[in-house]
Subunit: 307 residues, 2 copies
């Protein structure tokens, strides 16, 4: 059962308190595909790149079962470029440069062989692009998960609300959940967002973990306490990729299974932040992933026998 | 096996986005005793109050097994008074008034019948007072747990470090852990603090939960996501009281049992913040506590079977 991932594939320049890198591959669909490909080798990628995007990076993902038919290559164009600087707390970052390049005219065409895809992840993109992908899917996927950001709430709220009506799971961070719902309490925010469409709301809190809300139920997954968060770029997309990969591998869209999927996503994100860009994600093997997930079990497991 | 609690008993005036109250009982030892008395009825209280502290509040705690022989009453003195205002995020607060009153000359005398107490909680007080209590204990308690704050790091760091050498567990919040260790990473901070004396370090992160560090082990307990945090005053002391109460009830000072104790503390703290001051703590019954602890199980419990 295939997983379709829609998002950017790009170059980033990054600066953190631990170092800097001038040009490294990035983009939401890049991170999501690397994370998901630990769990499924039937991934349909939808993105747009310039002629500058490295063939070897494409080849590495193809080897892991990622189909590039849906990735448009604009030979004489340049890939999306973002440059940012993180501060010590890693929760705040300054954007130094944003060059949309080929992403500015991204109008994804879903290939025929992507039809019938069971699971769809819509990375952070304009709501119009997200809607266009949903509309092109002749058969509705079993689970549609979307990411978004405050920028679209500011400039394209109506379009965003229209997409929200068509998705099952919204993934946002805490400040985005607050802005979208106009509620400070995350419990109230999640309830309001569920009224907007998605029956499941995942609120990401970075180093403070993630919450999954569904009806009256709530689940919490911690972030793994790390000696250092070296570079948080892509952690949210990696989380999403791990989540989707587990759902696609298990073919189970229940609340119970989403809990495990969130732990898997958190585990993948904990790798992502250990090195610049997707470097660490490209290194980890199946055993590393299993060992990391076991750390999450140890982290939250307690004995409930009381006196 | 008795639990000795040392701390303030006081009056607070509180203002939160949800309302205000001009005069309500408070103080670290008050909150800790209310929380702990859900689990043990052998509590030895050490504090100081003025003639203005209400007899009926003392009587309510005595009924729950709290011994007041170690609470000095200065008949013509006034109890410690603190007034503060919280902002919407509840993590920042402005202190409006601090009147030390009788607390200024607090020189606790440990009664003979407190000797042999197995568990000792040192609430946030000057390091000299904390040290004096430890020195007066003829037999070292099985577990000594201390709270402190940034204020003592600023003005009495040497005294604080001397006390740290004599305690088993330090409870601080994240910014205090960073200040004490001069490390931003909480993992590194906890490791450094363990070198200062306490073999166990609990770092409280308010709405983001709490971490327990010991050697190479780490445990994370979330805070319960609530519709509203009505008043966070006393949540940390309530957490400590629940933690100590569980330890005293189970007589087990292992890392494994401390995990459960932290969940118990988190459950008690989640009640505390639901109403002003200790109001809610004074209402909850055994069944409420058990139900709340079960909510924590549901909150973090997940199935680890992967494909």
């Amino acid at each position: 059962m295939s997983l379709t991932i829609v998002g950017s594939m790009a170059f980033d320049a990054l600066e953190t308190p631990f170092g800097k890198v001038d040009r490294i591959i990035g983009g939401s669909a890049t991170y999501a595909a690397w994370a998901a490909s630990n769990f499924t080798n039937d991934i349909k990628q939808v993105s747009i790149v310039g002629g500058d995007f490295p063939d070897e990076e494409v080849a590495k993902l193809e080897k892991r079962g990622v189909d590039f038919e849906g990735v448009e290559v604009v030979k004489d164009g340049k890939s999306f470029f973002w440059s940012g600087r993180y501060h010590m707390d890693m929760n705040t970052r300054d954007t130094l440069v944003t060059e949309l390049n080929v992403l500015e005219h991204f109008n994804p065409q879903i290939p025929d062989n992507y039809q019938g895809s069971d699971f769809l992840f819509l990375g952070n993109l304009t709501p119009d692009v997200q809607m266009s992908v949903i509309d092109q899917m002749k058969e509705r996927p079993k689970l549609v998960v979307m990411d978004t950001m405050n920028f679209w709430m500011d400039i394209a709220l109506d379009g965003l609300k229209a997409v929200l009506k068509k998705v099952d799971v919204l993934m946002v961070n805490d400040s985005e959940a607050r802005q979208l719902s106009d509620e400070y309490s995350l419990v109230k925010a999640a309830a309001k967002i569920q009224e907007m469409g998605p029956k499941f709301v995942i609120i990401k809190k970075g180093e403070h973990g993630a919450l999954l809300f569904h009806d009256k139920h709530v689940f919490f997954a911690p972030a793994l306490p790390l000696e250092d968060v070296f570079d948080p770029t892509g952690a949210g997309d990696t989380f999403a990729g791990g989540f989707m990969g587990h759902i696609a591998a298990t073919k189970d869209v229940s609340f119970e299974n989403m809990k495990t999927a969130i732990i898997v996503g958190s585990a993948m994100a904990s790798f992502c932040v250990e090195k610049f860009g997707p470097t660490r994600l490209q290194e980890v093997a199946k055993d590393d992933v299993q060992a990391r997930i076991n750390q999450f079990v140890d982290l939250v497991n307690f004995d409930i026998d009381l006196v």
